[in-house]
């Protein structure tokens, strides 16, 4: 078949300083490619290059002339940024409370029958009238998937299409992709190499900005590359020390969290009714539940990021909420990472300073740091293998490395309560194993209690025994 786009010995440079090198890659109309590689290997850069980004230093590009429908974190961020601007604009927007899901879906193709069919399959029916920004991580992902599939664009770029989607919907999502992608060209990027769909035919495997393997996905060589990605073992390691003189809990013997008869609803939609929950020091919890079951809302009650923490009976670290404590009194005992935090962490700070901000619970760093904190951060960077990136801008790191850094930021103070909300989204198998090993180490320390949130019930974390399972609201 005819070549749709291609690169010949292309060296392409990006604004972030990253380059793709000696790129030889031809994609024919209707091809189904899997693009794989470790965090920071250049997957996002390759996708951007397909869209025409970057500066060609040498070689040749046969540019794509067809429109692309893309599902990626870049697209999600763009839509979220646009929504924030609209909301701040206030009166000028067509929709006072933000653009509803239905309007977001119709942007690429207003064919209402097709949209309805896809929305029904993925269970989005109830959400169509909701403002897009109110959706949970998994719900957002489903919407973007429907939006891309419903478009008539001949090229589909699907960057981690199952990111954050709950177990029950994953098979449905993959079936939808197979069926609605049809004869179109598909570029699939995923770290989940154990769950690559049958329809993918070719593999392009990236390492340090170059394609080091390309060919049939069924070939044994392809299998070797993919296995290498997931079977490397994590070396034994010891955690860096805690900072001396870190604030201690005012009531060390009382539970970390006590929730009594918690009620939360959004508009008329109840999320929790009479929820009771206690977290005691040393009891590590895994919270599971399908997309939209209120996992993030539950965490926001603990962190103080939900206004409902003032309208419920909550005792956090011995502070009865709403009795004169500040959110910083609460946050000093919490380490926190989530997709929401990742989206909000938009500052031009170096990798090192992002980790240092973990000591102050701030986005960006506004206080002077101690040399002890700097030493501890250097040790953590070494532990996660990013010590060479110390002085580089955080916002120019790959998505996976940013996520790994934000997880580490949550850990640096080894807080009384470490809250990890779907932390591993976007991590390659080895980095995921690294994070799980760090969590296991922390569960063995006497200082930190873990609260691990995941949509996936079949995802046990060693060292975590307590389970809270939230039903769909």
């Amino acid at each position: 078949m005819a070549e749709l786009f291609g690169f010949d010995s292309a060296d392409i440079e990006f604004g972030s300083g990253f380059s793709l090198e000696r790129l030889d890659w031809q994609v024919a109309d209707g091809d189904k490619w899997l693009v794989a590689g470790r965090n920071g290997s250049g997957k996002s850069a390759l996708l951007a290059a397909i869209g025409g980004a970057g500066r060609l230093r040498s070689g040749r590009i046969n540019a794509l002339r067809e429109p692309i429908a893309e599902l990626s974190i870049t697209v999600q961020r763009g839509l979220a940024a646009r929504e924030r601007v609209r909301l701040e604009g206030g009166e000028g927007s067509e929709f006072e409370n933000g653009t509803p899901v239905s309007a977001i879906l119709e942007e690429l193709n207003p064919d209402s029958d097709l949209l309805r069919e896809l929305s029904d399959r993925l269970g989005l029916g109830e959400l169509l009238a909701q403002p897009f920004l109110n959706l949970s991580t998994g719900e957002t992902q489903k919407v973007l998937l429907v939006r891309a599939l419903a478009s008539r664009h001949p090229v589909l770029i699907l960057d981690e299409p199952l990111r954050g989607i709950d177990a029950a919907s994953r098979i449905i999502a993959f079936n939808c992709i197979e069926r609605f992608a049809g004869m179109r060209t598909v570029i699939l990027v995923t770290h989940e190499v154990n769950a690559v769909p049958d329809w993918a035919e070719h593999l392009a495997y990236l390492e340090s900005g170059s394609i080091c393997y390309q060919g049939a996905l069924a070939a044994s060589e392809a299998t070797d590359w993919l296995e290498q990605m997931s079977t490397l073992t994590v070396p034994q390691m010891a955690l860096p020390p805690r900072v001396t003189g870190q604030a201690s809990l005012q009531a060390p013997q009382s539970p970390l969290v006590v929730m009594k008869n918690v009620q939360v609803s959004f508009g008329d939609l109840p999320v929790f009714e009479n929820l009771n929950w206690e977290i005691h020091a040393g009891e590590h919890w895994q919270v599971t539940g399908p997309n939209g079951s209120g996992k993030t809302t539950l965490l926001n009650l603990i962190t103080g990021d939900s206004p409902h923490c003032y309208t419920n009976d909550l005792n956090i670290f011995g502070f009865q909420r709403g009795t004169g404590e500040s959110i910083w009194d609460i946050k000093q005992h919490i380490g926190y990472v989530s997709s929401g935090l990742h989206l909000a962490y938009r500052v031009s700070a170096s990798v090192e300073r992002v980790l240092l901000s973990g000591f102050y619970d701030s986005i960006g760093l506004y206080q002077s740091v101690t040399s002890e904190q700097e030493t501890i951060v250097a040790e953590w960077l070494k532990l996660i293998g990013l010590e060479k990136k110390r002085q580089q801008p955080f916002n120019q790191q790959s998505y996976g490395n940013q996520r790994l850094l934000l997880i580490t930021r949550a850990m640096v103070k080894q807080p009384a309560l470490l809250i990890l909300d779907e932390p591993c989204l976007g991590l390659d198998p080895l980095n995921r194993a690294l994070v799980i090993a760090l969590i296991k180490q922390l569960t063995q320390s006497k200082t930190t209690t873990i609260l691990y949130v995941s949509h996936d019930v079949s995802d046990p974390i060693p060292g975590i025994s307590k389970r809270l399972s939230l039903p769909l609201a």
Binding site: V85, E88, G89, G90, E91, G92, E96, G304, D305, P307, H308, Y310, T311, G324, E325, S326, I327, W328, D329, A344, V347, S348, A349, S350, R353, V354, S357, Y360, D361, S362, I363, G364, L365, Y366, Q367, S368, P393, F394
Partner: protein, 490 residues
């Protein structure tokens, strides 16, 4: 009621105008303690009301809201804002009598009616706070003698006040105590605790006065901040289109140009903005700016004079009483301009191109900032106030134009600022027409397009010296120094 400023003797006028001092971080070591356990009741739940309230509550303070009975019964947006965020909301009669601190965060226009209703309900020795002093200074509202009156004015829109707080930072803030209403000598302690509760202390607080805040705020917003950007947008767009620049491109260059070029101001003042131009372009911009300053100086002086004498506020209050006929008419007129109606191109314009092709826009910013600053300081306003109300705020206003052009700017700023902006625009457009006539696309729309970037050494030294030695650059360097000491950027 009579204009408060005009009732003061000259020495008092000068003393109050000349108040603006950067406060040391150590002055805020007590945090919100002075207000701990006290009842804070906010009147109004718009952008400032809601976002300040969220911050104050997250700082450990007891915050609730009071709204007009109709807003509650009709479940208006202000009521939904407050209740959906878990705040207690009640009528004036229910909430005000128990309040220790009442924060009046309604629009200027409603102030006198609101104060008239709530004042009799306030308990003895309570405190009334404002975030803008128009009502006290221009309307001359007299507040009961036993009540303390203070101002805490974050120098950003409400949404920014909240976002910066959530990051663990804050926005620069002016505070003041009304000299006529500090019966127990506690006004400053309350204002400091209030500023700490909004996060302002982390970004820097200036001790100001009601008079200094109002007079400088009005002057800044009417002239350089909103007026100059509006007039400049219309003139630059029309010029480019008349000279054959593709209208979608011209609209984009203007809409995003202000934001891009004034971003350079944030980092290094006028000096840095001018340094982003090539040497020949810099000389060109400096010459254009000199010409515009000569033409516009009388207009800036007129605005300052009208603000000082109360003529401006008198005229605007007449329009309030006339159902905003003028304001609404001018708003409509703006929406009908060619610039507003043009849709922008999808073509990429690189950051540097905004400078290279927007020499005239750079010159307009330079002329406007310098003129506003010079006029304010000549009228007795302190350099610190004049800096915040001219140079510091330009990028914040430019951001609004980048979102949705002049419509967005005028709906984000207060009605008072919008009214003043239109006044300026009407006077400024005809004044600049003859100046614009001979200009070409080399200074707006296409760039100089020179192969040889050579300039005369002496001329360049003279212009650089002139830019760098302007007083707005001196004070700016100092204040930005304080800010970066607090906000260490990675």
């Amino acid at each position: 009621m009579a204009n408060y400023f005009n009732s003061l003797p000259l020495r008092e006028q000068l003393a109050q105008l000349g108040t603006c001092d950067f406060m040391a971080a150590s002055e805020f070591e007590e945090g919100v303690n002075y207000l701990r356990g006290k009842k804070l009741v906010i009147v109004g739940c718009g952008s400032q009301g809601l976002n300040q309230g969220l911050n104050l509550r997250d700082s450990g303070l007891d915050v609730s809201y009071t709204l007009r009975a109709s807003a509650i019964s009709e479940k208006r947006p202000s009521f939904v804002n407050a209740t959906s965020n878990g705040f207690k909301v009640g009528s004036y009669a229910e909430m005000i009598p128990d309040a220790d601190l009442v924060l009046n965060l309604t629009p200027d226009k409603q102030h006198s009616a609101v104060v008239k209703e709530i004042e009799p309900l306030m308990k003895k020795n309570a405190c009334l706070a404002y975030s803008h002093g128009f009502n006290i200074v221009e309307e001359g509202q007299k507040i009961r003698d036993d009540l303390t009156v203070i101002m805490v004015a974050p120098k950003c829109p409400g949404t920014e006040v909240r976002e910066e707080y959530k990051r663990g930072f804050g926005v620069p803030t002016l505070i003041a105590v009304h000299a006529d209403n500090d019966p127990n000598g506690e006004g400053l302690a309350i204002a400091k605790a209030y500023a700490a509760g909004t996060g302002g202390d982390r970004a820097g607080v200036l001790m100001s006065s009601f008079v200094a805040e109002v007079k400088s705020d009005l002057m800044g917003e009417q002239t350089i901040l909103c007026g100059m950007l509006q007039t400049g947008s219309l003139l630059c767009f029309d010029k480019m289109v008349a000279q054959g620049v593709e209208p979608g491109y011209a609209a984009k260059l203007v809409q995003y140009g202000w934001e891009t070029i004034t971003e350079a101001l944030k980092h290094g003042g006028i000096t840095n903005m001018m340094d982003r131009l090539s040497n020949p372009a810099k000389l060109k911009a400096a010459a254009l700016s000199d010409s515009m300053k000569a033409i516009l100086r009388p207009l800036y002086e007129k605005h300052m004079d009208d603000i000082m004498t109360g003529r401006f506020s008198g005229g605007m209050m007449d329009d309030w009483h006339d159902d905003d006929v003028k304001l609404l008419g001018w708003r409509h007129e703006t929406s009908e301009t060619a610039f507003e109606r043009e849709s922008v191109t999808d073509d990429e314009i690189s950051e540097q191109t905004y400078f290279d092709q927007g020499i005239l826009m750079v010159a307009m910013v330079k002329a406007g900032v310098e003129l506003a600053f010079e006029t304010m300081t000549a009228a007795g306003i302190k350099a610190e106030s004049a800096y915040y109300e001219s140079l510091h705020e330009v990028p914040l206003i430019a951001n609004t134009i980048a979102r949705k052009k002049l419509f967005e700017m005028n709906s984000t700023i207060s009605d008072t600022a919008e009214y003043g902006c239109y006044l300026y625009n009407h006077a400024c457009l005809p004044l600049l027409q003859p100046f614009m006539e001979p200009l070409n696309t080399d200074v707006i729309g296409r760039g100089l397009g020179l192969n040889d970037l050579g300039v005369d050494n002496q001329e360049l030294i003279r212009v650089n010296q002139e830019i760098r030695s302007h007083p707005v650059e001196h004070i700016g360097q100092m204040l930005r120094g304080y800010m970066t000491a607090m906000k260490a950027i990675g």
